[in-house]
């Protein structure tokens, strides 16, 4: 039975990395994981704000940098890490395919891996050209024409694509009927 997915459902599936159907069981678990993540995030915000407030009295600039970096690290590694572990533990992120469709699933994973490699490499290459401009005044055209930067982000893109492919393969489960 095919159920038409709403835009909201697609967003939830994308954020939680659920490739299959978002059925009532998956939705229930996603709601529970989301509530836990929200509680962690609010607790972090309260504690980090208080700590940064105390530090800022004596060291305003240090307090700013601590807040900036902890606001990047805690949500990415802490909260996202929790969501990733929780969804994997419940097998919500598994891609189940029939044995006869396994080869197609591997091909799809390869195409996804290549797509992600290209996306990551190009995005980071452009992002670096802008950040370099802000940090040391290097004009974006200089970064974009630098062989060193080009090779660097080409290799980073390939590595990212390979890692994403490996992760997709780990999630792809062959079902024997």
């Amino acid at each position: 039975m095919k159920v038409k997915e709403t835009f909201g459902t697609k967003i939830i599936k994308h954020f939680y990395g659920i490739p299959g159907v978002l059925d009532e069981h998956a939705r229930q678990e996603v709601n529970r994981i989301g509530s836990n993540a929200y509680l962690m995030l609010v607790s972090y915000l309260l504690v980090s704000t208080l700590i940064v407030l105390l530090i800022s009295i004596q060291h305003l600039e240090n307090a700013f940098w601590i807040l900036v970096f902890s606001n990047i690290i805690v949500p990415i590694y802490g909260i996202n890490g929790y969501v990733l572990v929780a969804t994997n533990r419940l097998h919500l992120a598994d891609k189940e395919v029939r044995s006869q469709n396994y080869a197609d699933a591997v091909k799809r994973n390869i195409i996804h891996g290549i797509g992600r490699a290209v996306y990551f490499g190009i995005t980071m290459f452009l992002f670096t050209s802008i950040t370099n401009w802000f940090i040391d005044g290097t004009r974006p055209i200089q970064t974009l024409t630098s062989i060193h930067e080009l090779v660097r982000w080409l290799l980073a893109g390939v590595l990212f694509g390979v890692l994403m492919f490996a992760y997709d393969m780990k999630r792809t489960k062959r079902i024997r009927e």
Binding site: M1, G20, V21, D23, E24, H25, A26, L90, D94, I175
Partner: protein, 67 residues
């Protein structure tokens, strides 16, 4: 213990095929069969329809004394 597994096997359906017919994940069928997840009434009705039976047969626990 419900009788979903028993009736699924009678219909010669795999967990995967039953899940596809109902529009849920295979894991959900597995959890229901092992009494690790209580499905909604709506989902119970869909399972019963696909397995060609009724809710009582699938989910009502009958004591030995009653039967």
């Amino acid at each position: 213990m419900n009788r979903v597994k028993e009736y699924r096997k009678k219909q010669k359906l795999s967990q995967f095929s039953l899940a596809e017919k109902i529009g849920v994940a295979r894991q959900t069928i597995n959890l229901i069969e092992n009494d690790k997840y209580n499905p909604s009434l709506n989902l119970c009705i869909r399972i019963a329809k696909v397995l060609g039976t009724d809710l009582n047969t699938l989910f009502w626990e009958v004591d030995d004394n009653e039967s």
